[in-house]
Structures are given as structure tokens and as C-alpha cells.
Symmetry: C2
Subunit: 180 residues, 2 copies
């Protein structure tokens, strides 16, 4: 049911999708839907929360290399893989933030910040070890994440480059952006 | 009127904004609105087209430096300035592409491609002149544009860094990404 809702919201936008439409997509009565989800706001929050939890869990399952250079490579490859597999979730995560209540927004932002902080820590460790050179770790974090998530806007499976090749090209750009 | 529509669409999403709501925001009867705009699709297209035309015109008004290194600096500073001044238009330009008819989508995509091609040409010229090193000019173009547009997601006027400082930091990252 959450999957049907996610599909509809990614296609039409949160404001245009009613509980009635979601019920129709799932194939149940609108009344039945309210047994699972109290309201649309909760539904949107749960979709975004599930996405962020999946992201943080997938990261936590990796063995983080102690070496910042290797950790940066792992982060870069992970970010591209994870997000290119989930275009609807990424789209909703960016687009529908404006439709969250302040409390729900704060909760999603905190999870996103936890993820971003992992990259910032890698950058700071790399600077300390003399591998990286950058003035503003937080700005570089936001710049690299925007660059990497941008793969979703143009990459197509059927295109000339494989995702593996794209990963390699982006990894090279990321390394050069922060190189000492 | 287009400004009121743009504000509403950026806040609520295209699908959730009716001609009636736009008329109410402008302070006219819904019927009067149809004298200016035949339908919502035309309105959305005109908002996105006006944004892209403004972008291409503003670029065309600049004297393009022959030197690729200087041209890259000009493009970088221009892109950040232009887009950070227009958060609503940028948001709509990315988010509401899915709501355009195929013909309107193709027209907007062609204009966007014209803009992207300007950066690709700078990169290719820089490689030819031995200033830049990169494997895939088109991929680097998409990566740099995503990175630069990303300023909009985090930059706040009232923050610690001025837009001038942010421009300088991004310019440094852009240069290093493509450095020979």
C-alpha cells in the first residue's frame, strides 16, 4: 500500500493524491485505508522516514574503512547505487519536504543530517591525514551530495554508459574536488 | 498573474493548483483568467519557458571570454547567481517537468540542452587547449550543473557565508574537478 502511494505521489505530487485515489490504486475501499494510515500527512512522513531509515541502515551495514580515501570511495559508490535504484523515493524526498508539518520536517531533516555528517567526517579525517584539501567541509559535503544525486536526473540504463562506468567517472571527479 | 501562479505552484505543486485558486490569488474572477491563459498546461509551459528564455538571454548578454579557464569561471559565477535569485523557478523547472505534455516537455528540454551545451563547449575547448582533463564532457557538464544548482538547497542569505564566498568555494571545486 505504501508502495502504491509512493508511486502515485511521485507521479502526481502529494497535494494532488487523495486517500481515495490511493485506495483505488491498491484496490480497497477508502475506509479500509484508514485502518492502516490515519491521514495523508502520516503517510507522507512514513514514506520519507522509511526511505531515510533504509539509507542509514544500508550505510551502517557496510564496514567503514579507516582510511579516508577508501571511505570516500565507498561513500561515493554507495550513494550513486542506492539513489539510482530509488528514483521515486529520491524525487519525493526532495520535492515533498515542503508538505511535511514542522515536526515531521525536523525529524526527516535530522536523519538526512546524520547521513550528510558521515561524509563530512570522512572529509575532515582526510584533511587531518593530509589526503584532502578543502576550506569548508560542510559546503563540500553539500556540493558532492548534490553532484552525486544528480546522476538520477540524466542516467538511463539503456544509455551508452553503464552505471559502473558512471560510478568510476564520478569517483574521479569527487577525488579531484577534494585532492590535497 | 504569472508571478502569482508561480508562487502557488512552487508552494503546493502544479497538480494541486486550480485556475480558480490562481484567480483568487490574483484577485480576479476565474472567468477573467481564461482571457489571458487558455488552460493550466499553457500556464505551466509559459512559466517554464519564460524562465529558460531569461536564462539564455542573460547568458547571451555576457561577453564570453575566449579563454576556457575564464569562460568556466564566468559560467560558474553566472549559474550560481542566476539560480540562487530564483528559487521558485528552479524548483518548478525541475519538479514539474513530469506535468508537461510531450511537446511542451521537448521544447523545454531543447532550451535546457542549449544552456548545458554552452558548458560542454567550454569544457571541450579547455581540454583542446590543454587546460582541462576529463573523460566525458557531457557527464562532467551534468555533474557540475547539479553541483552548482545544489547551492539553492542549503544556502541562506542570513547564514555564516555570503553568496560571494560560496561562489568562490564552488569555483575552486569546479576548477579542481576539471584541472589538467
Amino acid at each position: 500500500m505504501r508502495e502504491a502511494a509512493r508511486r502515485l505521489i511521485a507521479r502526481h505530487g502529494f497535494a494532488a493524491v487523495s486517500m481515495r485515489k490511493i485506495a483505488a490504486e491498491v484496490g480497497v475501499q477508502a475506509g479500509a485505508l484508514y485502518n492502516y494510515i490515519p491521514d495523508k500527512q502520516t503517510l507522507l512522513f512514513e514514506i520519507m522516514q522509511a526511505h531515510m531509515e533504509e539509507l542509514l541502515t544500508a550505510r551502517a551495514e557496510l564496514d567503514a574503512p579507516a582510511d579516508p580515501v577508501q571511505a570516500l570511495e565507498q561513500f561515493t559508490r554507495f550513494h550513486i547505487r542506492f539513489h539510482s535504484n530509488r528514483p521515486d523515493e529520491v524525487f519525493i524526498a526532495y520535492m515533498e519536504l515542503r508538505n511535511l508539518t514542522p515536526e515531521n520536517f525536523a525529524a526527516i531533516e535530522a536523519m538526512r543530517r546524520t547521513y550528510e555528517d558521515q561524509l563530512t567526517e570522512i572529509l575532515v579525517a582526510g584533511v587531518a591525514a593530509g589526503h584532502f584539501r578543502l576550506a569548508e567541509p560542510r559546503v563540500t559535503t553539500m556540493a558532492l551530495i548534490a553532484m552525486l544525486t544528480g546522476v538520477n536526473t540524466w542516467f538511463r540504463e539503456e544509455g551508452r554508459l553503464s552505471l559502473d562506468e558512471v560510478e568510476g567517472i564520478y569517483l574521479d571527479m569527487v577525488r579531484r574536488t577534494v585532492a590535497a
